[in-house]
Amino acid sequence: MKDSERIVEVDCITHVYPDMTKVQICGLDFIVNRGERVSILGSNGCGKTTLLKHLLGILVPKDGRVRVFGLDPGKEYAKIREKVGVVMQDVDEQILGPTVYDDILFAPLNYGLPSSKADVLAKEVMRRLNIESIKGKIVHYLSGGEKKKVALAGALVMEPELLILDEPFTGLDPVSRRDLVRILNDLNKEKGISFIMTLHEVDLVSEVTDVLYLMHGHGDLSERGRPEEIFGRFEDLESFNLEEPTLTKLFRGLKKEGLDFGIPLRVDEAVESIKKQWETKK
């Protein structure tokens, strides 16, 4: 049962880029409740990363309202910094420490935590992400998957309440993707960490999402709902420059041929549905 405390609220913000392009992230209010896994799907350049940067206080809106844990991140990010962990799109510029261990310790030491406490936190997060073996590795020799894990470790070390991830699955091989999905879901289940993530991998959405937002054009937040509700609306998805998940496409195709197994979003749901129908027919 999800707690309904609102930890993020964005109310129609306007941002002006340096080249004078204006973006209004409007339409639906962007709301994240505590414990929720929220994903944002949208075409390239629609404003997903811009929205995230407003949540982090990196960008300040010209108009509109942004609240994270009740505070304006543009003015008071320092007060909520320890509650928020971030994994950027390009993790190379995020990984700053000379070694993996140093990078994970970056935030705790900056916040003035005693070395002993910082070490405990770092070791715990390395154990959870299974990266103890690369602890001493110099960061420019990490593989893409390792870099993502190290960036995630750096984001999790302070035990945040909210994790913001910008296209975390980009560039990962299928096994690394599955691994990351499992880690994120475990964190949500065990620690109640809320997520906000942007992604392009529609096939993964149902596995990591409680609430899905669709964004299109220049910041138009036009759909919000559970993934199964949104993916049910096939025509709408195309207008967002998105494809429906493979499984959805398959079962919709089967339905058109008279084989109605519903529209499951996950493989285990699909197996259950087929099994049920099969046993009924038997």
Binding site: Q94, P98, Y101
Partner: protein, 208 residues
């Protein structure tokens, strides 16, 4: 810059006794080498020092590709020939001093991960300067991958051709312009990451 990659890789992955020796002792050793270079004017003495450094170089199983780095400063040392009026002793003295210096320092960097070196420097240099060193070294590798990709793209698309030097020069310059812009944009994102993670003025290095 391929040598930098080898140098750095050798420092982190090397397994020789010199790699395992404490960075503190290697830096102290380098300080002795520098003192010798500065004070000694005996050619046999300097040749002995160079022989020792060469011996250490090869005993540490450092890749031979890196050895060429030690010879590069000779290009500038050659200019001192013209100061001396081709005095053989002076020329040899200068060359051997230069070679001792470059071999010693390359030996240090090829057997000691850079964070260890910077950490020791951090004991007596201002924190801001050491942070700048760390960020620069990190940025080298970020930009290096961009630069290599650009070089490959130029090469595959005929961007470097001796028969068209002007066009090649434009392409190289544009590649550097591209690198600079990418670097500046990257530095903004880097700063955002640093602020988000509470950076004040220092990058900590703890090592293992």
């Amino acid at each position: 810059m391929i040598q930098l990659s080898y140098l750095d890789y050798s420092a982190t992955e090397g397994k020789s006794w010199l790699h395992r020796l404490s960075p503190k002792w290697k830096i102290i050793g380098m300080a002795f080498v520098l003192s010798a270079i500065v004070t000694v004017r005996s050619l046999p003495g300097l040749l002995l020092l160079y022989a020792i450094l060469l011996g250490l170089f090869f005993l540490s199983r450092i890749p031979l590709k890196i050895f060429s780095l030690t010879l590069y400063p000779l290009i500038f040392a050659i200019l001192f020939i013209f100061i001396s009026g081709f005095q053989i002793f002076f020329i040899l003295l200068v060359f051997v001093k230069v070679l001792c210096g470059s071999t010693g320092v390359v030996l240090l960097l090829a057997t000691t991960p850079y964070p260890s070196i910077f950490r020791i420097l951090g004991r007596f240099l201002p924190p801001l300067f050491v942070t700048a060193l760390f960020l620069t070294y990190r940025s080298i590798f970020i930009l290096l991958s961009i630069f290599e990709d650009t070089q490959h793209a130029l090469y595959l698309r005929g961007g470097f051709q001796w028969r068209n030097p002007w066009r090649s020069l434009i392409n190289i310059s544009n590649a550097f312009g591209h690198l600079i812009i990418k670097g500046m944009e990257g530095s903004e994102r880097m700063y955002e990451s640093m602020v988000i993670r509470g950076f004040k003025n220092k990058i900590y290095y703890r090592g293992e």
